[in-house]
């Protein structure tokens, strides 16, 4: 192994820190602006450290975003994630381990639709939901998103294809039903892939904007991204410190989840995409 000279190592460290500072700058700016007073945030030139911390911004921002939107976002993200997990894991398992006519065609269907973006289906999906009278209802908001199964089915199929057949066969010979094989043997061994899938899906659902925008009009079903966009697109008189606090509040929960699930998240994302 050749020895890397000290100055080259030092240069690399300095470069890494500089780049990280540039990438992280918007987050720093977000944090300090969210805590500034309305006067300081509008002062020129802008300050790098808030002279005076105004924690009441949080209350002001919540009043605009509304507590209801926060609750809706939690319900929306959890129901999308749980339902989609349930459907994707069972379908993925069936395609990988059950022999039945049409299973290859199903796999092909999911792989092809993996490349069809939801935006292209926006208009027809809206029409179907409208014809079901589901506009401004929870099923109309949640189910079309749950239906985006291609990625999940693909991820779980890839995982279960590598799963040892002997294990399942032994259980089957001992008389276990498919339901028992799945719940008692397969699920307990699927922890990491489930964690990876859940972390990616919950993030996607929490940040989803277009479908809620199209499928809901009432405040009762408003999720955080919609409330957040209203801060800048509709009410020009909102001061930047309150708007930034709104961004911070709506982003913090997902940052906390990300930090605690980072390992699964990273492994899951890289593993799923590299297949």
């Amino acid at each position: 192994m050749t020895v890397v000279p000290f100055w080259r190592r030092a240069l690399r460290v300095v470069l890494t820190i500089t780049v990280t500072a540039i990438v992280g700058l918007p987050f720093y700016w977000l944090a300090i602006s969210a805590l500034k007073t309305s006067v300081e945030v509008a002062a020129y030139p802008p300050t790098w450290f808030p002279h005076q911390i105004r924690i009441e911004n949080a209350g002001d921002a919540m009043a605009l975003l509304t507590f209801g939107a926060l609750v809706n976002s939690v319900i929306f993200s959890l129901s999308v994630t749980l339902l989609q997990l349930l459907l994707a894991i069972s379908t993925g398992f069936a395609i990988a381990k059950m022999t039945f006519p049409g299973s290859r065609a199903l796999l092909w269907l999911f792989v092809v639709t993996l490349f069809v973006p939801f935006h292209v289906l926006l208009i027809p999906t809206f029409l179907i939901v409208r014809d079901l009278n589901w506009i401004d209802t929870w099923p109309g908001l949640v189910l079309p998103v749950v239906a985006q199964l291609s990625f999940g089915v693909f991820v779980f199929r890839q995982f279960y294809v590598g799963f040892p057949d002997e294990l399942l066969e032994a259980a089957r010979i001992d008389g276990a039903s498919w339901g028992q094989v799945f719940t008692l043997i397969v699920l307990p061994l699927s922890g990491p892939v489930i964690a990876a899938y859940v972390s990616v899906t919950i993030l996607t659902a929490w940040n989803m904007y277009v479908w809620p925008l199209v499928s809901t009009t009432t405040l009762d079903l408003r999720v955080l991204p919609i409330a957040l966009s209203a801060l800048v697109t509709q009410r020009a008189q909102i001061t930047p410190n309150v708007a930034m606090m709104g961004v911070l509040i709506s982003t913090l929960p997902i940052i906390v989840i990300f930090l605690s699930l980072q390992r699964y998240f990273v492994n899951g994302l890289v593993g799923a995409l590299k297949q």
């Binding site: 459907l87 179907i128 985006q148 904007y209 990300f258």
Partner: protein, 299 residues
């Protein structure tokens, strides 16, 4: 006596009830909200429909109208521009940063976590944030530019700077995923290869260019496709909130026009034709970029 392979087939072939239980609920939703919309999207593109009066079949008229529609032409040009200033820099930044952080020193874990943070923030939240960061008076960008004697433009109010500003946000949002993928690929390169190159007198840049880069080519393809998809479709959120397609249509990309045509102007047939055209362009690009695959690539 059944042969082992037959026994295996029988064991793995469940009764239809079990197959139905595992597959049917997902397929039901998938058919209703993915498969049916795909069919309807294609069908709608041959109709003229405003949601209120009865749909009228117009054949290829919607598609033929696209080249004569100045907003459509502008939005296609703007989309191509965003792809050029968004996708290529994302791929390059992803690769360079992955190469940079593929090392160990105290604190690298924290730095990596910070570099991954843009992956977590929503497009809408980041658009709200960056609107403010690009503010010519209140934001840090022109403040920093001022320190080195540059008087920065009013980014989002300028027809020539608004798209580069959007591209900066897109690169910022998109590079962490590419960086992760490149990092995984870099860690799979045989260190002996790099050492051999170094013994032959190759410098850092030469090793990066001639040893590392060719070895991560499959990842480059993957990152390009993912970023392309993201730029073409997901940038709707960013543009809708950050610029609304303005000023004067300078960030009016195709997906934004499709949305407006459908939900503001209620031209559902025409919007569907635009969406189908976009899908065909993406499909064509993906096919053109796909490297030839060896047979049996289903696993």
């Amino acid at each position: 006596m059944a042969s082992p392979s037959t026994r295996k087939r029988v064991l793995n072939t469940p009764p239809w009830g079990w197959v139905g239980l595992f597959v049917a609920p997902g397929m039901l939703l998938f058919t209703l909200f993915i498969a049916a919309p795909i069919v309807i999207a294609f069908a709608l593109s041959f109709y003229d429909w405003d949601l209120i009066s009865a749909p009228r079949f117009v054949g290829l008229a919607n598609f033929l109208a696209i080249p004569a529609d100045p907003r459509a032409v502008n939005s296609i040009v703007r989309t191509a521009y965003l792809v050029a200033v968004g996708v290529v820099p994302t791929v390059i930044v992803s690769f360079l940063l992955a190469a940079l952080i593929n090392t160990r020193f105290p604190g690298i874990k924290l730095l990596r976590t910070i570099l991954l943070l843009p992956l977590v923030i929503s497009f809408v939240a980041s658009a709200v944030l960056w609107r403010y960061i690009f503010d010519p008076h209140l934001g840090p960008i022109n403040l920093l530019l001022g320190l080195i004697g540059i008087s920065g433009p009013a980014w989002l109010q300028s027809t020539s700077w608004s798209m580069p500003a959007v591209a900066v946000v897109i690169v910022w949002l998109r590079f962490p995923l590419g960086m992760l993928l490149y990092l995984a690929a870099l860690q799979g390169i045989d260190p002996a290869l790099l050492e051999a190159a170094e013994l032959d007198g190759a410098g850092t840049w030469q090793r990066l260019r001639h040893v590392v880069w060719p070895n991560v080519r499959p990842v480059t393809f993957l990152v390009t496709i993912i970023t392309l998809r993201g730029v073409l479709f997901d940038s709707f959120d960013v543009i809708q909130v950050m610029t609304g397609g303005g000023p004067i249509g300078s960030t009016d990309i195709l997906i934004k026009y499709i949305y407006d045509a459908a939900f503001s102007q209620l031209k559902l047939g025409y919007a569907s034709a635009l969406a189908v055209a976009l899908l065909l362009i993406v499909g064509g690009l993906a096919l053109a970029l796909t490297p030839p695959r060896s047979a049996g690539g289903s696993r």
